[in-house]
């Protein structure tokens, strides 16, 4: 009752050290902000952990940390991003996402309305994806020791018997597919962080991909591996697979979809879309005979309507990823060295 008699002042209040101190302020924050947003039977158990029903299928477990700046960007925010990122980690193994956990590291001074906006967005993203945030934790750090909010999540999912996605199954001759255009998330965040106001604002592609993956699995195509090209972009993801599988790859630049706005921003900043992060795209490698069938299944799903076959797996002892450019010249697609930095002149 005491808790209800002192409602949080969400419109004007800010995070204080007491919100993480284990006292009344903390309980109030958890009940009035987090529990309300995420509302589900497991959270209603009011314990420090959740007891979940038994599952028959194999379990898939992942964890993920989110530190994006700015917290709110065109096309999403750190809350929805945390949910999508965690779900996609599970989905790339063919798993059905079921439960999430979320730990919040809050910086003293964070406006409560920002935190509420983030929690609400996170809850909406989870609900839309059919998963529940079943337990969580909150800590507060002094001003200057965080960047507003850091969110650390875990995701638990289950995977059907017979689904076994792994880079080690990739073979020369396989086809490489991409679910849509690249670079939107990284450019959306960067342009907002650096206050680069483009006439055509670029929105993050942040999305949960499990439903697209389910459609791909149902297509019957012999899928070898799925990956989401997040940090380091498509270049890093393909190099990672090539190294793990001990193969090379040959891509066609003309087949890789890039939105004109992203292409222009990259040109302007001296960046390569192949190195830019995505949060709602996936790379699929499948047996070449099944590529058209898989492509069709992807294109029938809203998150895969611009899917394309972008290249082939080849034999290569050096495990190079190469690309034939639009002009016909060939080049290596390498991992990004260091951070992606703009050119000097």
């Amino acid at each position: 009752m005491i808790l209800q008699s002192h409602p949080l002042d969400i419109a004007h209040g800010r995070i204080e050290m007491s919100h993480g101190a284990g006292g009344r302020a903390m309980v109030q924050l958890i009940h009035q902000l987090f529990a309300q947003a995420f509302d589900n039977p497991w959270l209603a158990q009011h314990s420090d952990a959740a007891v979940l029903p038994a599952l028959q299928e194999r379990l898939v477990l992942t964890c993920d940390a989110h530190v994006v700046s700015p917290l709110f960007f065109n096309g999403g925010d750190i809350g929805s991003l945390a949910v999508h990122g965690t779900i996609n980690d599970l989905a790339m193994l063919g798993a059905r996402p079921l439960y999430l956990t979320a730990s919040f590291i809050l910086e003293e001074g964070l406006p409560l309305r920002d935190l509420k906006r983030i929690a609400d967005s996170m809850a909406a993203a989870a609900r839309a994806a059919g998963v529940a945030v079943v337990t969580g934790d909150t800590k507060v750090v002094e001003k200057g020791k965080g960047d507003g909010v850091f969110i650390s999540t875990s995701g638990l999912g289950s995977v059907r018997a017979g689904i076994d996605l792994s880079a080690s199954r990739v073979q020369p001759g396989d086809c490489i597919l991409l679910s849509g255009s690249i670079g939107e998330h990284g450019i959306a965040v960067l342009s907002q962080r650096e206050h680069l106001d483009f006439d055509t604002p670029i929105a993050s592609d942040s999305a949960a991909l499990h439903a697209l993956v389910a459609a791909m699995l149902d297509s019957g195509a012999r899928l070898r591996v799925l990956r989401d090209p997040t940090r380091g972009g498509l270049a890093a993801t393909l190099n990672e697979i090539a190294q793990q599988a001990g193969v090379g790859m040959m891509l066609q630049e003309a087949a890789i979809p890039v939105q004109p706005g992203v292409e222009a921003a990259c040109e302007f900043l001296g960046l390569d879309p192949l190195n830019i992060a995505n949060e709602g795209k996936l790379v699929a490698i499948c047996a070449w005979e099944d590529a058209d069938q898989l492509l069709q299944a992807m294109r029938e799903h809203p998150l895969g309507k611009h899917a394309a076959i972008i290249g082939k797996v080849v034999e290569d002892a050096h495990c190079f990823v190469q690309m034939t450019g639009k002009l016909g010249g060939r080049r290596v697609i390498d991992w990004l060295a260091g951070e992606q930095l703009p050119r000097i002149c």
Partner: protein, 367 residues
Amino acid sequence: MKFVSEFRDPQLAANIAANIAHEVQAGRSYHLMEFCGGHTHALSRFGLNDLLPHNIHMIHGPGCPVCVLPVGRVDQAIRLAREHKVILCTYADTMRIPASGKLSLARARAEGADVRMIYSTQDALQIARDHPQREVVFMAIGFETTTPPTAVAVLQAEREGLQNFSLLCYHVLTPAAMHAILAADNTIQLDGFVGPAHVSTVIGSQPYATFSRDHGKPVVIAGFEPLDMLQAILMLVRQVNAGRAEVENEFTRAVTHEGNRKAQQLVQQVFTVRDSFEWRGLGSVPHSALRLRDAYQNFDAELRFKLPYVAVADHKACECAAILRGEKQPQQCKIFGTACTPEHPIGSCMVSSEGACAAHYSYGRAI
């Protein structure tokens, strides 16, 4: 993408490539130096070598600001950041140039120095305004393209009375480096230059006349797009075949004969030519870099913090010097791709994406 895709048209590229193949004379080889790192990058990124006949050899020039900065200058900046506790602001790739004692600005930052990466000189000024109690030093590097914005920053700082702002002025001059390459006592065959793109928008095509007139080398100023490069190579092949040595301008949409007068005036007002400056690869080159004029010496960090320049020899195994002079290709360096990679650069040419080694490593090592 408007104004870009037009210059990357595959059909037009194929047409120009066919013209080049048609016009090169069998039994003759063409050794052309692209001065700019931007051109080196474009060659690799667009795979242009695949479109050129085998008897055209592109030599990578020293036009990469990060590549030509000697170790001693990076050491100087690191010393300033660590010992004088200033906020050191600099452009991107400069952070990763290897310095003495396995340091770099990036590593110095990790060890506690206050080094900040900025996108424009205006960012450095803003940092100075925001931290009036701290000394803020902008490490100004680059060729003629990046010099005018530095001049503007100095004039702005003066106008605002910003007492805590100064420069490490490492701006260098393109024509002086081209002179140094031609004066070097080496045996490389050099039949012509693909002239700088952005540099020439500032200085114009005028300053290159001496290379055609006095050294008999054709120069074709070219933009950074693939069609620009191919067209410039075709124009060079035609000059070589005809025994001509002229300055031609392929990049007419941006470069004029006299260049950007306003920018030149600003640079002239704030800077004057140093007697000599050490370049990586080219050694000490007379009249090849800028310093602040006496009237602006309050903004000179070398004077303000009494920082002597100490020259430091390059890593023994590193061939950056020979590569920057056009005498060697990156793959001819023993440590290329083994000890020296973009993640762990030993030489500066492996640092910037415009560096010859980094371009070869990132885009071309399989071919």
